[in-house]
């Protein structure tokens, strides 16, 4: 039978739609896909069955497939690929697509659809997938004719991975998967007429470098665009920062692009950023934004954001320029291309930083001395900050990748874990999706089998996609889920304490499972630590286990995450600790998320 199908296909040089999908994935260098079968994708699953080059990871929920593909993509720089069925399969990917769109993650998501003649008839497991996913993809296609399928598959990879990366959906009706057409490879198909600008404007680069040389209080404010541009951009960023001697801060998404151990590094900017990073942003006279987008988590109150500075903004997406903050000098380009030119011009023109830079650093030193990430440790209770510090200390020297869920634990991880390299930190920044971290860790571990992959989790978030532990067990993925279990949706509790008079409405994590037993039920390993002095040994044990681990770290349930700029406040209205006087919050501020 196989023989017959093969000779037939060779004779006509035509492939079925399902075979075209598999062939195109292969031609685009895809090695792993994350998926879940169903009626409308059975032909593709059949083609997959007959192909032994692609590794398919069977998840337990389609949302898990998308987050796993995101983890895969962000830790490798390659596009993540997802395969799901129509109807519920497609609706289950919506959260992941939105997450990937917000954080610029390249994904190619293939969805099955009911047969073309049934579309619009409320057929079983029909939904308007392209309609539902239009606002949460970079682009999407419904392929009604198998002849279009090879071209659409190639376009899908092109669009997902070029310009500002993002997720795309290819919706393929079941009859199209059976029909045959000639397959032409990517090299024989003209690319889509889509040309995002990658080369910077030379004049803008020169002006930028002169502004930088003249600045007395400059600061680099970098973001995920550096990481997305590729490792070369991070290398060039390091060179430019060294060359100028300027301080540098970064958004949540940009962590790792610049080594956190370096003295010029100021730490995270924004709502839970360091005192020195936010004060530098507030008082600088030149802000050099590189691949960052002035998100509201970063700016706080926009009219009070860095009021005295000129702003240079490098972004590959022209729509980010002047969106939230007025920009004095826009540079639309790919980060690596622009950074290369910036360095060249600085050297060519023999530019140097203003001598005033020394007093700016002195000022920054005073802010740093506030030690804004300090906390009061305890002998009896495990402080979440302490747990992260120990995790960091004991994982140094390993090839460590960190994913997170969403909440206080995420912010503590971002503040305290020191990332030295890009692509080692995977977190849901733009959408803030609880349940991201565990499946993302699955994807990261799939791409990096020998690495130490840790999901720093909260007990509430982790329950949203806990079922993916089963996936980890099935594929022998020794991911480590390090739960900072404070028995609260801690971040919600913190806001209720600060903004809603301590009325803790539905933020207590009641009826928690016994995570150790749960781990065992899944065939994973469970650990629990309740006292600070148990931590080190158990973290070491966790690292040395070659199986998935669920580690229930019982932490102080009442700890708040500081520093914090309450929503609607300015960078210099930061709360540093519980003891701090809280700034008077405006009604407008309360209205903000």
């Amino acid at each position: 039978m196989d023989q017959k199908v093969a000779t037939q296909a060779a004779a006509t040089a035509e492939l079925t739609g399902a075979e075209i999908v598999i062939r195109a994935l292969k031609d685009h260098g895809v090695k792993h896909i994350f998926g879940y079968p169903g009626g409308a994708v059975l032909p593709i699953y059949d083609a997959l069955f007959q192909n032994n080059e692609l590794v398919h990871v069977l998840v337990r929920h389609e949302q898990g497939a998308v987050h796993a593909a995101e983890g895969y993509a962000r830790s490798t720089g390659l596009p993540g690929v997802v395969l799901v069925t129509s109807g519920p399969g497609a609706t289950n990917v919506v959260t992941g697509l939105t997450d990937a769109l917000m954080d610029s993650v390249p994904l190619v998501v293939i969805t099955g659809q009911v047969a073309t003649h049934l579309i619009g008839n409320d057929a079983f497991q029909e939904c308007d997938t392209v309609g539902i996913t239009r606002p949460c993809t970079k682009h999407n296609w419904l392929v009604r004719d198998v002849k279009d399928l090879p071209r659409v598959m190639h376009e899908a990879f092109q669009i997902a991975t070029t310009g500002r990366p993002g997720p795309v959906v290819v919706d393929i009706p079941k009859d199209v998967q059976f029909k045959r057409a000639v397959y032409l490879g990517p090299d024989k198909t003209p690319p889509r007429d889509y040309h995002p600008r990658v080369e910077p404007d030379e004049g803008a680069i020169r002006t930028a470098m002169h502004l930088m040389a003249a600045a007395r209080r400059p600061v680099f404010y970098t973001g995920g665009g550096i990481v997305n541009s590729g490792p070369e951009a991070s290398r060039l960023l390091r060179e430019l920062v060294k060359l100028t001697g300027f301080p540098i801060t970064s958004t949540l998404m940009g962590l790792g692009a610049y080594p956190a151990s370096d003295p010029q590094w100021l730490g995270l900017i924004g709502m839970h950023g360091t005192y020195e990073a936010n004060l530098s942003a507030n008082r600088c006279d030149l802000m050099i934004a590189l691949g960052s987008r002035f998100d509201d988590r970063v700016t706080g109150r926009v009219d009070a954001f860095s009021p005295g500075s000129k702003k240079i903004h490098l972004d590959i997406d022209p729509a980010q320029i002047n969106k939230n903050i007025r920009i004095d000098l826009p540079i639309v380009a790919d980060a690596a291309h622009a950074l290369r030119r910036m360095i060249a011009v600085w050297k060519e023109e023999k530019l140097s930083a203003d001598p005033e830079l020394g007093s700016w650093w002195k000022q920054i030193g005073e802010w740093r001395a506030r030690n804004s990430l300090s906390y009061r440790n305890s002998k009896k209770l495990i402080k979440p900050q302490y747990a992260i510090d120990r995790l960091y200390a004991l994982t140094r020297g390993h090839d460590t990748y960190i994913t997170t869920e969403v909440g206080q634990h995420q912010m503590w991880a971002a503040q305290r874990f020191k990332f030295e390299e890009p692509n080692h930190w995977m977190t849901s920044g733009g959408l803030g999706t609880m349940g991201y971290g565990l499946p993302a860790a699955v994807g990261v571990q799939m791409a990096h089998p020998g690495a130490l992959v840790i999901d720093i989790a909260g007990e509430a978030s982790v329950q949203m996609t806990m079922q993916e532990l089963s996936t980890a067990v099935q594929y022998d993925l020794p991911i480590k889920i390090f739960i900072l279990n404070n028995e609260y949706m801690g971040m919600v509790r913190q806001w209720q304490e600060l903004l809603h008079g301590g009325r803790y409405s539905h933020s207590y994590s009641e009826a928690l499972p016994d995570f150790v037993k749960l781990a065992e039920a899944y065939g994973a390993i469970g650990f629990r630590a309740e006292k600070p002095d148990e931590l080190d040994d158990k973290i070491r044990a966790m690292i040395s286990v070659s199986k998935p681990v669920l580690f229930d770290v019982r932490v102080d349930p009442h700890e708040n995450c500081y520093p914090m700029i309450p929503s609607g406040a300015a960078h210099d209205e930061m709360i540093l600790s519980d003891a701090d006087e809280e700034p008077e919050l405006t009604d407008e501020g309360k209205m903000m998320v």
Binding site: D193, P318, A319, N322, D328
Partner: protein, 171 residues
């Protein structure tokens, strides 16, 4: 920081797109999703061989919002070009409307007289009604409609604005 101008302005954007399924939904969804206004929108294929359509959108917003609209339209994959004809190219805007006016006697005569002043065409005539066709700039059509209202206006159908730049060069 340069001062922010918060006065709302009306702008006409001409958008060249691939004529493919869903392209109009993308444009409209962008306006709806980001809270931009659409005052009028017209679309039709203008190049059969290249499969491109031309969308003319009349929108309003502060200068900052207008700049965002243009940039956001530009990032849609099937969009080739966006020209803000209000500021980038001096252009001509025209709209067509069909009006049904019913009545007899003095009002009927007056309706006919006004239509001649506006150079509207009577496309359909009965003893008690007219259907007029009028072409012109949107405010001319507004004015015609207002004049017809007391004269028995019963129905209006407008095409929305089509726009093109002046001079020999294409946009």
């Amino acid at each position: 920081m340069p001062p922010q101008d918060d006065r709302s302005e009306r702008h006409t954007m001409v958008v060249t797109v691939d004529n493919e399924p869903g392209v109009l939904a993308r444009v409209i969804g962008l306006f709806a999703g980001r809270g931009y206004n659409i005052e009028s929108l017209t679309v039709a294929e203008v190049d059969r061989t290249a499969h491109t359509s031309r969308i003319t959108v009349v929108t309003s917003g502060t200068p900052a919002v207008i700049e965002q609209i243009k940039a956001q339209l530009g990032r849609l994959v099937p969009v080739h070009r966006v020209v803000d004809i209000t500021i980038e190219k001096p252009g001509i805007e025209r709209e067509m409307a069909l009006l049904k006016v019913a009545g007899t006697g003095e009002k009927r005569v007056e309706a006919m007289r006004v239509s001649q002043v506006f150079r509207a065409k009577a496309l359909d005539t009965t003893h008690s009604s007219f259907v007029f066709e009028i072409t012109g700039a949107p405010d001319k059509i507004d004015a015609f409609i207002e004049l017809m209202r007391p004269l028995g206006l019963v129905e209006v159908s407008r095409t929305g604005v089509a726009a093109i730049s002046r001079g020999a060069d294409p946009m």
